[in-house]
Each structure stands twice: as structure tokens, then as C-alpha cells.
């Protein structure tokens, strides 16, 4: 996903001279092409996320469309008040990109895990929250964020996630991204869980002959309320799968909506992480297995 981000932001900045890229001393070589192409519009802000966020806000008041980029926990919780007051309060066109969300950096320990960012960012007024599921969705979400001219948080995985889409598309913020239609069961896959969720869908078909519908959530705020309302009518079971804590995550957002609309919340199953500081989980793959986020665990929940 991060390579797709680097490619798309470079592409966008070619024609859109308002775009400036602010990085928090991360992405060694990743932005070489951007720097070559638009040297006056790339800034390494150092390991100073609060300042980077405030600087982005200041540039936005002067007509730029800044994009900040660093590792997810540092670009969200570390500089939370700057996002809230400098960007969201004046409703400025800044895009905050967190790379390595969820358990992308499982082996680096709890300092680098990000299982709370959606929950925290979701409390901020005016902030759009986008959760692309593969490299193609990253490009589509970034274009939509820049185009919207509104405060936006984009949650990226790392690199090498399976590519699910076979072609580029235009993303409309606030809509789910259809992947495969089906009957009875629906999986709403959040961000970087798309590959794992797809495997679960395939296994469900192979092992149990289940025709499961799957969408990539695309946007946690605003929610695709129309889709959700229909889904609660149409499907027997709805699984929300996210590499994020239960508390405040995308599953929470859907549950809040379902509660508000008096939809049948018994249909809903949230597959997410327990609230804890994880240690010794090793690779992302292993961490997912341990936490019940791997395709077999999703399958088990789907066929209960």
C-alpha cells in the first residue's frame, strides 16, 4: 500500500501544484520520484509530528493541499490535538496518512501497533476516515481525499498486500467498495484485512458451498448508511473484520448506527482485537492467528 501511495501522490502532484507532501522522517527512498519531480513541495519535517501537523494546517490556510505521512500511531495519537484544533476545527484540506496501521508492524512491539487510531480519530468533528483495502483502493482513496478539500485520515497497511481489484476506479467517499456479491452472509472488510477476508470467503465456498458477499468498507466516516440499512434487511449475518481494537473501531461505528436505526444488531459479529498491549506476537501473520483475525478464524465465525 505504501508504494501505491508514493506512486499516486507523485502522480497527483504532477498536475496539482497545490499538493505538498510532509513526511516525518520516514520512507527512505520511497519518495525519491516525488522529490525529483516536485522538490519545492516535499518536506522532511523530522521526528516532530505535532509541528508537522501544525505546519500542514498553516500551509492549508495559505492555499496548499498538504498531505502528512508517517507511521500510524505517530501520525494520529502523537499529534491528536494538532489534528483536532489546527486541522479539523477550521475544516482545512489536509490529508493525514498513517502507514503500517493495525498489526503491520507486529514484530516491532506495542509502540508501533495501531489498534486504536480509528476509535480515536472517529471522535473528531469534520474528519473523514478512509480505510483502503489494497493498492488500487489506496490510489482511489487518495484522489478522493484530495478532491474533497476536507480533513481526511487515510489508514494504510504496509507493503505487499494482495491486490484484489483488477482495475482502477473512482471512489466516492462514504460508500462501501463492492468486491463480490452473494447471499445470506456479508463480510464488511476494513482496510488491510481485505486479503484475509477474501481467503475466508473462498474457503467458505470451497468447504461449505456458502455464497458470501464481501465489500471493502472504504470509509468509516462518513458511513455508507444506505448500504448498511439494506444489508441489515438482506443478510442473515454481517461480519465486520478489522485489524483494530473492538473499542471504537469500524465495528463500533456500525453498531452505533444499527442501534440508532433500531436495526437487528443480533445479526452483527465484530471480528477485532481485544484491548491489550500485545507482546511477543512475532509476524503480522502470526499475530492475526493468535488474535483470531486469520482466514480460518473468520471462516469459523462465518459458519457458527
Amino acid at each position: 500500500m505504501r508504494n501505491a501511495f508514493a506512486k499516486e501522490v507523485t502522480e497527483l502532484a504532477k498536475d496539482n501544484t497545490k499538493i505538498v507532501l510532509l513526511a516525518g522522517d520516514i520512507g527512505n527512498r520511497l519518495f525519491d520520484r516525488f522529490k525529483e519531480q516536485s522538490p519545492q513541495r516535499f518536506y522532511n519535517c523530522g521526528i516532530a509530528e505535532a509541528a508537522m501537523t501544525g505546519i500542514a494546517a498553516g500551509m492549508a490556510t495559505a492555499g496548499y493541499t498538504p498531505i502528512t505521512y508517517t507511521i500510524t500511531p505517530f501520525n494520529t495519537l502523537r499529534c491528536l490535538e494538532q489534528i483536532k484544533l489546527d486541522i479539523c476545527y477550521p475544516n482545512l484540506p489536509v490529508t493525514i496518512v498513517g502507514t503500517g496501521a493495525g498489526l503491520s508492524y507486529a514484530g516491532l512491539g506495542a509502540t508501533h501497533h495501531s489498534l486504536d487510531d480509528i476509535g480515536v480519530m472517529r471522535t473528531l468533528p469534520n474528519l473523514q476516515i478512509l480505510v483502503p483495502g489494497d493498492a488500487i483502493e489506496v490510489s482511489a482513496c487518495l484522489r478522493a481525499a484530495v478532491e474533497s478539500g476536507r480533513p481526511t485520515y487515510i489508514r494504510l497497511g504496509k507493503k505487499g498486500e494482495p491486490i484484489i481489484h483488477d482495475k482502477d476506479f473512482t471512489y466516492k467517499i462514504g460508500r462501501v467498495i463492492p468486491i463480490k456479491s452473494g447471499a445470506r452472509h456479508l463480510i464488511i472488510s476494513v482496510g488491510n484485512m481485505l486479503g484475509e477476508s477474501m481467503v475466508a470467503v473462498e474457503k467458505a465456498k470451497d468447504k461449505y458451498g456458502l455464497d458470501t458477499e464481501i465489500v471493502s468498507m472504504g470509509s468509516v466516516y462518513p458511513l455508507d448508511k444506505k448500504f448498511l440499512k439494506n444489508a441489515f434487511n438482506k443478510f442473515e449475518r454481517i461480519l465486520i473484520v478489522e485489524e483494530h481494537g473492538f473499542v471504537g473501531g469500524a465495528g463500533s461505528a456500525v453498531l452505533e448506527y444499527a442501534y440508532e436505526e433500531k436495526l437487528d444488531t443480533k445479526k452483527l459479529t465484530s471480528i477485532a482485537c481485544a484491548k491489550s498491549f500485545l507482546s511477543g506476537v512475532g509476524s503480522q501473520e502470526n499475530a492475526r492467528r493468535k488474535l483470531g483475525l486469520d482466514s480460518d478464524s473468520i471462516l469459523a465465525k462465518l459458519t457458527i
Partner: protein, 263 residues
């Protein structure tokens, strides 16, 4: 200097009046930096229109001194009397900390340590666009406690932002104690020098000195004006008395104030 006296006496009185009417805090904090904000808005900054991209920009990072900002803007005809007098009342956009929803306010301030980074972003953007304006931010001495101030300071000097001016309202107090005793602020001026800024030290109530400092060209680096000020400036019984960080004058005290300010 006499031409400033009438305007400043009026402005100080107005700050006290509106703060008292709103039952707001931070009277002494507003009086400490008012002279400089008055000068910026009425004798220094060029603001043809509040949405002119070429305008000089000012951020009151110590947002709790909002009364001083509003009175200065009123004196510069950027706010009406009606707007000014609505300060702190229900439904008013003139809140006790400046809101970005108010025309002419460049960013939200009130949570300390935010203004400098935003001003740095503005200065950087304007420099890139070849707009030759002034980007000015006023901070408190207590505000120097915030780490984000120093993050932004390092970025500004690394990027040679000589269109950026920081001002420190160095009144030697923060909310509950002497600013040099709470944390190790001294030597403040050389701290900024060591961060790559041009530092100038002045008496922040001497507007000729302030003008000279503003006009000083710091080539290739940002400039900080360390302004020695007095909290509660202009009222004999408020000066350097930190009780007026929160207190408001009673009727009797108002009579003395009116006399001292020739109102």
C-alpha cells in the same frame, strides 16, 4: 510616543470593560501584550482585506489574551463596536479564545503551543508562492513550556524562514507561578539563538523599540522578539500582580482605573 498614549489608554480601558462584562479571566495577560498587538494592527501590518492572500498574518498563540486582540482589531476597524461588545456573551463569535470561525482569525488558539507551527506553515507557503508578507506569531512565556514550540522552532530555522517573526510576551509569570521558576526558561533569548533564530530583546511596552525590532531584517533566518513586559500593564494596582490572571475589578477599582486611563 504621545500619539500612542490616547489610543492605548482607550484600548486598555476597553479590554477591562469587555473582560469585566463577560466575567472572563486573563485580564492581566491581555494587558501585558496589548501594546504590541495594538501596534501590529494599527501601525504595522498590511491587511487590505482579511481574505487577501498577500495580507500580513498574525496569530495570537496565547489565545487567552483574546480581549487584547479584539480591541486591537476594533481599533483597526476589523471589528464593529457591536461585535466587540458582544465578547463572551451567548451566541457571540468573540469567544474567550479566538475561534477560526471569526473572520480575520487565522487559526484556533487557546491550547498553548499550537500557534508557532501554524505560523511556520503560513510562512513556508507564502515563501514558496513568492508572497512578500509578514507572518507574525505572539506567544506567552509560559507557553515556552510546550515542546511543540521547539519542534516548530527547529523546522523554521532549518528552512530559513526569514518571513517569520515570533514575539514572546515575556511577563515573567505563568498561570500559577513565576515562569522562570516553574521550568528553566532562562536564558530565553540565547535559547532561541541556539535554535538558529535571530533574537532581539526589547521592552515590549516601548513601541519605538518594537517598531525597530519588527523592521530589523534577519537575513536567512527567522526572528524572535523577546519582549520584556509587565502583566497587568497600565493599571497601578494590577502591574506584576498575578492575582489579576483570574480576578476582575470591582466598582471602586473601576473608578481608579478610569482615572488612571483618563476615561
Amino acid at each position: 510616543m504621545s500619539d500612542f498614549k490616547t489610543a492605548r489608554d482607550f484600548g486598555r480601558f476597553k479590554i477591562i470593560e469587555i473582560t469585566r462584562a463577560a466575567k472572563a479571566a486573563h485580564l492581566a495577560s491581555a494587558l501585558s501584550c496589548y501594546d504590541m498587538i495594538y501596534y501590529l494592527y494599527n501601525h504595522y501590518m498590511k491587511i487590505n482585506a482579511i481574505d487577501d492572500p498577500k495580507r500580513d498574518r498574525f496569530i495570537l498563540s496565547k489565545g487567552h489574551a483574546a480581549a487584547a486582540l479584539y480591541v486591537s482589531m476594533y481599533q483597526a476597524s476589523l471589528l464593529s463596536a457591536e461585535e466587540l461588545n458582544s465578547f463572551g456573551s451567548i451566541g457571540s463569535i468573540l469567544e474567550e479564545h479566538p475561534s477560526p470561525k471569526l473572520n480575520g482569525i487565522e487559526t484556533a488558539s487557546g491550547s498553548l503551543g499550537h500557534g508557532l507551527a501554524v505560523a511556520v506553515g503560513m510562512a513556508l507557503a507564502n515563501k514558496n508562492k513568492n508572497i512578500k508578507n509578514n507572518n507574525i506569531v505572539l506567544m506567552g512565556d509560559g507557553e515556552q513550556n510546550e515542546g511543540s514550540v521547539w519542534e516548530a522552532a527547529l523546522f523554521a530555522s532549518a528552512n530559513s524562514l526569514d518571513n517569520l517573526t515570533g514575539i514572546i510576551d515575556y511577563n515573567k509569570w505563568q498561570a500559577t507561578d513565576r515562569s522562570n521558576e516553574v521550568l528553566a526558561l532562562n536564558p530565553l533569548s540565547s535559547k532561541w539563538e541556539s535554535f538558529g533564530w535571530q533574537s532581539l530583546e526589547i521592552n515590549g511596552h516601548d513601541l519605538n523599540a518594537f517598531r525597530d525590532a519588527l523592521n530589523f531584517k534577519a537575513t536567512g533566518k527567522p526572528k524572535i522578539i523577546v519582549s520584556h513586559t509587565i502583566k497587568g500593564k497600565g493599571i497601578s494596582f494590577m502591574e506584576d500582580d498575578n492575582n489579576w490572571h483570574y480576578r476582575l475589578p470591582n466598582e471602586e477599582e473601576m473608578l481608579v482605573i478610569a482615572r488612571e486611563l483618563n476615561q
